[in-house]
Symmetry: C2
Subunit: 309 residues, 2 copies
């Protein structure tokens, strides 16, 4: 399956009855001249954009009796579990021990079986691959599969229909690169596409610097959602072509962004969900006078009672 | 100023540059056939619909040097403080001791002076009236003033533009009655309008039963936002004419609704904000097969770290 504007447009149509058209609101951000178009993708089913990729993988797929399996830091797992539940497919989700308890609980609540084992995403992936080899279950990769990237790309297709005056620039967080990979394929350079990563999870930043995907050791506040150990192979050429810049932020910037989003918008974003916005608030990404910026709040799977702690 | 569809339409136009067009999302609710149109009015500036009423009072008003003053259980106070801040007007807000600390902090953050004194809303109102008499400051009533009701009515006018297939029924929480009074004037019976109150704050329920506004002693979980001691005199005839039914819910229903909204939508509503939705989830309001329901989540000014406690 080719990752392109055409396949994303087709997926956008197919997914429409199944995914939520997440709202966009205009927000005044201190120091930025033009209101920022904020896409509340954290209101997506399962609490993050990942439901899009999971639906794109499973709608119309022929699924073996063993069902589906996925390895995930949490949000992809929740999404696969949610989508499998909606479509009546058995699901087994492999998550590393680093995953937030709230995410594990959520995955279970959708009726999936959860295997918590391994230090990081890589270890969970190895467990998942062993299971796939043994049972023949259908594999859903968290980011490095065409259907996953195409599904996430529908977020960009949808965003474009919602901001009638257009945007010059769109910021989104990067983990394994599924979301920004899909957005890169959708926009094809029509907007300035900015990736935002934390200092502890610079998968795309380091890959672009090296000219190829390189291993990192994910760490820090957003590692449970952005902590891929390598950027996706499939999206990397798209990023080289269409991602204008990758901005790095610090964990403290994210904490401040989470706090700001709550105080000013009554939105609880998880660290990875607040990462892109933090680049605006901290000035890590410098907005030009008159630049109309869009930003994606991509996930909300956190524990509100731990907020600010 | 007459409270009517025409004056609300005019206010809707005037307020457009100042208030947020809050998003509406379709939500599947267990046991309800047709998706529910949920208006996320908690994303309004200042964290509740009350900013609408405050702007309607202050836009174009001639304000004395002493500025504005308001008595409020919290959300109206936050709204007046926010709006005064935007328009560059000095504000003094009188709140009862029952007010949530998060709301008091929010009012202060907008630059207003806050006077915390008195057991309930009535006591805070008395303090405010004394201040008004002494200084000649402009009074903003939390619900029983034409401009306040007209401003809140713009929520209904806006909602109508957002649900293209229309709704049969709209549910909203009732405290002093400003919001539902404005909605009643806007809809004029075009939809079934349902008020939702808690057992501890049945201002409109008791007034309709008695045929006139009667005193209550507000208590329970939602008292800090719905705890008016009497329904507004101005809205009461509108309610008699256009509010189809007032449904009562228990505090436990609200707790469950708050929990459900977080788990399923990643939304943190305050108790009063979750009250209308709780009538759907608990079955206190029985939805007919095929009935298309709209519901307003009207406020989010709570402390997320206390969530579920």
């Amino acid at each position: 399956m080719k990752i392109s504007q055409a396949t994303i447009a087709e997926a956008f149509e197919n997914l429409t009855p199944f995914v939520r058209r997440t709202p966009v609101i205009d927000v005044e951000v201190p120091g930025i001249e033009v209101p920022v178009a904020v896409k509340l993708e954290l209101l997506q089913y399962s609490g993050s954009f990942k439901a899009r990729g999971a639906f794109a993988n499973l709608l119309g797929a022929s699924v073996p009796d063993a069902g589906v399996a996925a390895a995930s830091g949490g949000n992809h797992g929740a999404a696969v579990a949610y989508v499998a539940g909606v479509l009546g497919i058995p699901a087994r989700i492999f998550v590393p021990e680093i995953s937030a308890p709230a995410k594990i609980a959520k995955i279970k609540s959708y009726g999936a079986e959860v295997v918590v084992d391994g230090e990081n995403y890589g270890a969970a992936l190895a467990n998942c691959q062993e299971f796939l080899a043994e049972t023949g279950a259908l594999s859903l990769h968290a980011y490095d599969a065409p259907a996953t990237i195409i599904g996430q790309g529908t977020m960009a297709a949808e965003f474009e229909t919602q901001v009638f005056d257009g945007v010059d620039t769109v910021l989104m967080a990067v983990g394994g690169g599924g979301l920004i990979g899909g957005a890169a394929a959708w926009y094809e350079g029509a907007v300035k596409l900015v990736g935002v990563e934390t200092e502890g999870c610079p998968t795309l930043h380091n890959a672009l610097a090296a000219g190829e995907p390189v291993q990192i050791t994910p760490q820090g506040l957003a590692a449970d959602s952005l902590g891929a150990s390598q950027i996706g192979e499939l999206m990397f050429p798209l990023a080289q072509k269409y991602v204008s810049v990758v901005t790095l932020v610090e964990d403290e910037d994210i904490r401040k962004a989470q706090e700001w989003l709550w105080r000013n918008l009554r939105i609880i974003a998880e660290p990875g969900g607040a990462t892109a916005f933090s680049a605006l608030l901290s000035g890590a990404y410098k907005v030009a006078g008159g630049e109309r910026v869009g930003v994606v709040i991509c996930g909300g799977n956190t524990d509100p009672t731990l907020f600010g702690k």
